[in-house]
């Protein structure tokens, strides 16, 4: 197991490096001049040269890449000061350290993710299991019907409707707003409630459907029938045997959703005017802010890789066939 983990971690580092290199060189493969993009009205060739020098774009690409990679491990010095490791460079646009920009945005993204996750796991898995337990009954039909309808909704569709009702029409709630948990837990909760609920609604629907279908699938497994044939109660079989088998697909999907949510829920953030990692990533790529784009990409990739490893670890816990092979 330990060996497996070490192997996976080394692999992750290699993949991160490749993603970094890929993004970096891909950016430069497109023929455009970042310096010209950053200058406003005074785009004289002299001014562009000055900007290029400021941004370090006058150096060969390989040198820039090397500096970038060294910066991640050892930190770098910039005109605005020393950028400690892990230094992802300085934003072309804002002049901020990329790492700090990301860390500044991350608490919101994390809050959105965790809050939404708790709601949709609780409700989604709960409803899905209930529907599977009561398969074929009215409860099941309502739950599966509602989940099909809701999962075909999109955040950018549902979000404005909820905002329209709760904020614009009635004024019952304020527009979503991020207040750090450490500053004011109540304001943090209230401010993110609408995004959580809207985001969770759609995910809840998806998880309901998934939990229901995997549970039903598991309930038809032969070993589940065997357990029943042994005289184990329906409840016991449901929660011990079928649920255990459902965990693998569920954990897989959670891992995927979590990694993409942690990289930034772009649609959620734009729908609710929030500034998280998703917005950072989109805006930086639209404005061709290479260091920031790289940073956001690598940060997202980091979560995908870490969660992949965590999911694999979870597999080992859930399934002895994985653990013991």
């Amino acid at each position: 197991m330990l060996q497996f983990l070490i192997r996976r971690l080394i692999g992750a580092v290699v993949i991160m490096f490749l993603i970094g290199a890929f993004t970096f060189f891909l950016f430069y493969a497109v023929p455009q001049d970042f310096a010209a993009l950053s200058c406003g009205k005074n785009c004289s060739p002299e001014n562009i040269a000055v900007i290029r020098e400021n941004l370090g774009l006058d150096q060969p690409i390989t040198t820039q890449f090397w500096n970038f990679m060294v910066g991640i491990v050892a930190g770098r010095d910039f005109a605005v000061g020393h950028c400690p490791a892990p230094c992802l460079g300085v934003s072309f646009k804002t002049g901020d350290f990329v790492w700090e920009s990301i860390m500044d945005r991350f608490p919101l993204t994390l809050s959105l993710t965790i809050g939404g996750l708790i709601i949709f796991l609780l409700f989604g898995l709960g409803t899905g299991m209930l529907a599977a337990w009561k398969r074929g009954t009215v409860v099941d039909k309502i739950a599966s019907g509602a989940s099909i309808v809701l999962s075909s909704f999109q955040i950018y569709l549902l979000g404005p409707i909820v905002l329209g009702i709760l904020v614009y029409q009635t004024g019952w709630m304020e527009n979503p707003k991020y207040v750090p948990f450490t500053e004011d837990p109540a304001a943090w909760f209230i401010g993110l409630l609408i995004p959580w609920v809207v985001m969770a609604t759609i995910f809840t629907a998806q998880y309901t459907r998934m939990a229901r279908s995997t549970m039903i699938e598991q309930l038809q497994e032969e070993h589940v029938r065997t357990a029943r044939a042994k005289g184990m109660s329906r409840k016991y079989v449901f929660f011990r045997y079928a649920w255990r088998g459902s965990l693998i697909p569920i954990v897989t999907i959670i891992g995927m959703d979590l990694s993409s949510l942690l990289a930034g829920g772009v649609v959620t953030e734009f729908t609710f005017d929030l500034a998280g990692l998703g917005r950072l990533a989109v805006e930086s790529s639209v404005t061709k802010d290479l260091p920031l784009t790289m940073g956001a990409m690598l940060f997202g990739a980091f979560f995908i890789l870490i969660l992949n490893i965590l999911v694999d670890i979870a597999y080992a816990f859930i399934d002895p066939r994985v653990r013991l092979s």
Binding site: Q32, D33, A36, L37, S38, C39, G40, K41, N42, C43, S44, P45, E46, N47, I48, V50, I51, E53, N54, A79, V80, G81, S91, T94, G95, D96, S101, D104, R105, Q154, Y156, L157, P160, L163, G164, V167, Y168, Q169, G171, E174, N175, K177, V266, V267, E269, F270, T271, D273, L274, A275, R279, L280, V282, E283, V286, T287, K288
Partner: protein, 598 residues
Amino acid sequence: MKPIRSRSVRAIAIAAVAGSLALTGCSSNSGKEGKDQSKSKDDAAQQSKPVEYGDAKASTGPAAPVAGAKPGGTINVYMQSDMSHMDPGQIYVSDAGQFSNLVHRGLTNFQEDENGNLTVVGDVATDSGQSSDGGKTWTFKLKDGIKDEDGNVITSKDVRHTIERQYAKFIFDGPTYVQTWLSGADYRKALPDGPYKGKHLPDSVLETPDDKTVVFHFDQPRPDLPQALAMAGYSIVPEKQDTKEKYDKAPAALGPYKVADYKAGKSLKLVKNDQWDPKTDVVRHQYVDGYDFTTTIDQTSQTKRLIADQGEAKNAIQWTDSVDPAQIQDVVTDPAVNKRTIKGYQPYVWQMSFNLDKIKDKKIRDAITYAIPSQAMIQADGGKYGGELAGGLFAPTLPGFDPKYDPYGKLKKPNGDIAKAKELLQEAGVKDGTKLTYAYSNSPRGQAQQVIIKDALAKIGFDVQAKEIDRATFYEQIGKLDNPYDLYMTGWGQDWPSQSTVVTPVYDGEQIADGSPNYSHINDPQVNKLIKEALKLEPAEAAAKWEEAHHRIVEEINPAAPVYYSKQIQLFGSNIGGAKYSTESSYIDIDDVFLKQP
């Protein structure tokens, strides 16, 4: 101001990502046309009186109180993207320009009366400047009691520092007028490291005979200097406070508000600067306790929030963003909402620039000019609240604007004159199916207008090759001298209310260079000569010369077909008092706002 560039970039990204267009698109143009309340050219005359230069009396504070104004409270500010800059040296565009009005102070400033007439007054200086030597030498005396936020007294050394730091390489985004006038186009060579290594400009260029006096020496008359110095880009950076690159994140305030908290891309909080003395300032007030900026709210949300006017939105204003075009009808048809708008012109003139290296025959340019359906182009950009038919290339915000000027009949035939265009093409001997390459930005507006242009030019027999360009790099691509395109839509606005800031950068043949805004590459000796002459004249006298140049450009050369003047409509919350359109900024007048119920 500048070509309409940075701000549009993010708005579009946001719309594309959030996909919110679908929901909001249905309400506009539903046939229920409100009474035309958009400001029209009658108001333009009011905006076009030449700028006056105020004396010491006009420059003495405090500012006249705003009727009904109360102190206290915090105004919420909606922006869809971050403040572009806070270091004055880097400030060129309007969002930071508005910010600058609250936080920074320069030697001069614009004072605007209730009719929108502008007077240049002394801000840190006692008056708008004393010229001598036929306008080649300008002397400014500093007021008493001007301090930065830490209480340091501002001296002439700080003014010199402000100018000299613009020569340093880390300053690249701000205006270059004064540096260029002082040291020539390659001004950076005159002081390569700025003032940071102990070197200064010689006294023959910039002189500080005592702590209160600054003297500028130019090699030719610079009658526009007081207006140039009123630009946010020339606001004072106290020498002691200068942190070079870092200053852009944490500038020292001289104005009534200072930065309390700034989170890039998220938020900005301004609070009162207790070192600001109202008696020294004839323009600004300090009614509210502060401003809370949220820089993540897209145009659609801003408009929705302000229409709904619930909770914190009551205390909110739009900064430099406008009403979402899709929601304009909702705004203007509801009287309760409509009275919470400010309307006016923006300084931009949208024009179809011809690449004169490619389309050399004026008849062809004229034909295209006739063919463009300006009305449809405006429809694609928010309708009558988004723009107004243009007859010439001077915006209604410029002094001496002539609303009747219409050499190509663009006002009379807003849908284009296809017959006339065809006739001209025949004379020019252009065959059917001749290829034209039209470059457009892939913004929603660019894409909508592309269809119109393609269609109109097809009608007169051109085979139009439309080339889409990433909105972020559009101006960079068409700014290249050897760009492969025949024509492209460009927008340009004045830097201050003088034609010099339009004609010189955009139509002066001597300014042609990679990246210069002379997108048509017009290089007409007579125009160049007129520019040279006009630049030496006081604003009132210069106006005639500029008009002569304008006529020469539009009628004899036609480097760009006038399409429309862009307009402004902004919303504010119901608790905002003193909100009015500012001619100077073309946005809400930030100097006079207060909260009705703090």
